[in-house]
């Protein structure tokens, strides 16, 4: 009897540990995540929270302004790092919703070439709104939603950029 109960509690605990969200990153962007090792940016905590609920208020994610407003949320990591992400519904009814990390970079307004938000808008091929905005919570009105076509366009640009950088290094 006790064993049965222990097993069911264990099974329940196991269920709770199953992440609600699949947190993924484009292969070409993965090196940007890896560069956070040793940076004390707090990415590990953010990743764990993304798996549970990317809309949790204490995470502090906010909606970007301008043309990316419907599709992309931003997040302040520690030590000046910024993270941009979007979300997609599961592809199959029993699948998990997806959090897609689009970019991790430093916020450097004086250096456009390496500034997180400038790079992000360039990759989407849209105008980076010049002024600061009020940063509403990411999921206040709705969750960010990106179309497959928009995401594919972004990924193509990322691949072109990373190929270009690799060529530049060799």
């Amino acid at each position: 009897m006790r064993t049965d109960r222990a097993n069911s509690v264990r099974a329940l605990a196991q269920t709770w540990r199953v992440p609600n969200f699949e947190v993924i990153v484009p292969r070409a962007v993965r090196p940007l995540v890896d560069q956070l090792a040793g940076q004390r940016a707090g990415y590990g905590e953010v990743y764990a929270q993304f798996e549970r609920d990317p809309c949790a208020e204490h995470l502090g994610a906010y909606r970007l302004a301008g043309p990316l407003e419907p599709a992309v949320c931003g997040l302040h990591l520690r030590n000046g790092w910024r993270l941009a992400f979007t979300m997609q519904p599961p592809e199959h009814p029993r699948g998990r919703r997806r959090v897609i990390i689009l970019l991790v970079a430093r916020r450097e307004p004086r250096h456009r070439a390496s500034d997180a938000w400038t790079i992000l808008h360039d990759l989407f091929g849209v105008e980076n709104p010049p002024k600061a905005h009020h940063k509403p919570p990411c999921c206040q009105a709705s969750v960010p939603d990106i179309s497959d076509d928009t995401l594919d366009g972004f990924l193509r640009e990322v691949q072109i950029l990373t190929r270009g950088r690799r060529r530049g290094r060799s």
């Binding site: 947190v23 993924i24 990153v25 484009p26 292969r27 070409a28 993965r30 995540v33 890896d34 956070l36 090792a37 040793g38 940076q39 004390r40 940016a41 707090g42 990415y43 590990g44 990743y47 993304f50 419907p70 599709a71 520690r78 592809e91 959090v99 897609i100 990390i101 939603d145 990106i146 179309s147 497959d148 076509d149 928009t150 995401l151 594919d152 990924l155 193509r156 691949q159």
Partner: protein, 157 residues
């Protein structure tokens, strides 16, 4: 973000299907419509989302999924990891489904249409495999990886 583009693509695809029907009257009509149909078809991307494909054929996404799962409609995986259905087979299938609808059929349309395609053309499945098999296998790996922190991440990283 792209809902307008999506509905435009679906509308264009439906126009292609309707024009193909009209072109089947043959003679001058066929000759006159052929370039228009080709031009419209070329406006469409070579593949479309499952939602778009289902809308073009006029069935639900789960119905479409069923036939994709059975390998009767070729899909490939876009860089986003999403399945994309090839445009031309969708147009072929939509045309045959439309035939059945006009003939008064209301149930199991996709099944009947695919069955008809297979009967009319025994090479149907084989050609799909030949055409799309190697490319699909390469693309199925997908362009996404886990975003989990690496083993070299410290507690504060």
């Amino acid at each position: 973000m792209a809902s307008a583009a999506t509905s435009t693509a679906v509308r264009t695809a439906r126009h292609v299907v309707a024009l193909r029907h009209t072109a089947r009257r043959g003679g001058d009509v066929r000759a006159e419509l052929a370039p228009v149909i080709d031009e419209l078809r070329d406006e469409l991307a070579p593949s479309m989302s499952k939602r778009q494909a289902a809308a073009v054929i006029g069935v639900s996404v789960p119905t479409l999924d069923k036939w994709i799962d059975r390998g009767l409609l070729p899909v490939d995986v876009a860089p986003s990891g999403r399945s994309r259905v090839q445009r031309d087979p969708v147009l072929d299938l939509a045309e045959r489904v439309e035939d059945l609808r006009r003939a008064g059929e209301t149930r199991h349309l996709v099944a009947a249409a695919v069955d008809r395609m297979l009967r009319e053309d025994p090479q149907y499945q084989h050609e799909f495999d030949e055409l799309y098999g190697p490319g699909l296998a390469a693309m199925r790996e997908g362009d996404f990886v886990s975003a989990a922190p690496g083993t070299d991440f410290g507690r504060e990283d």
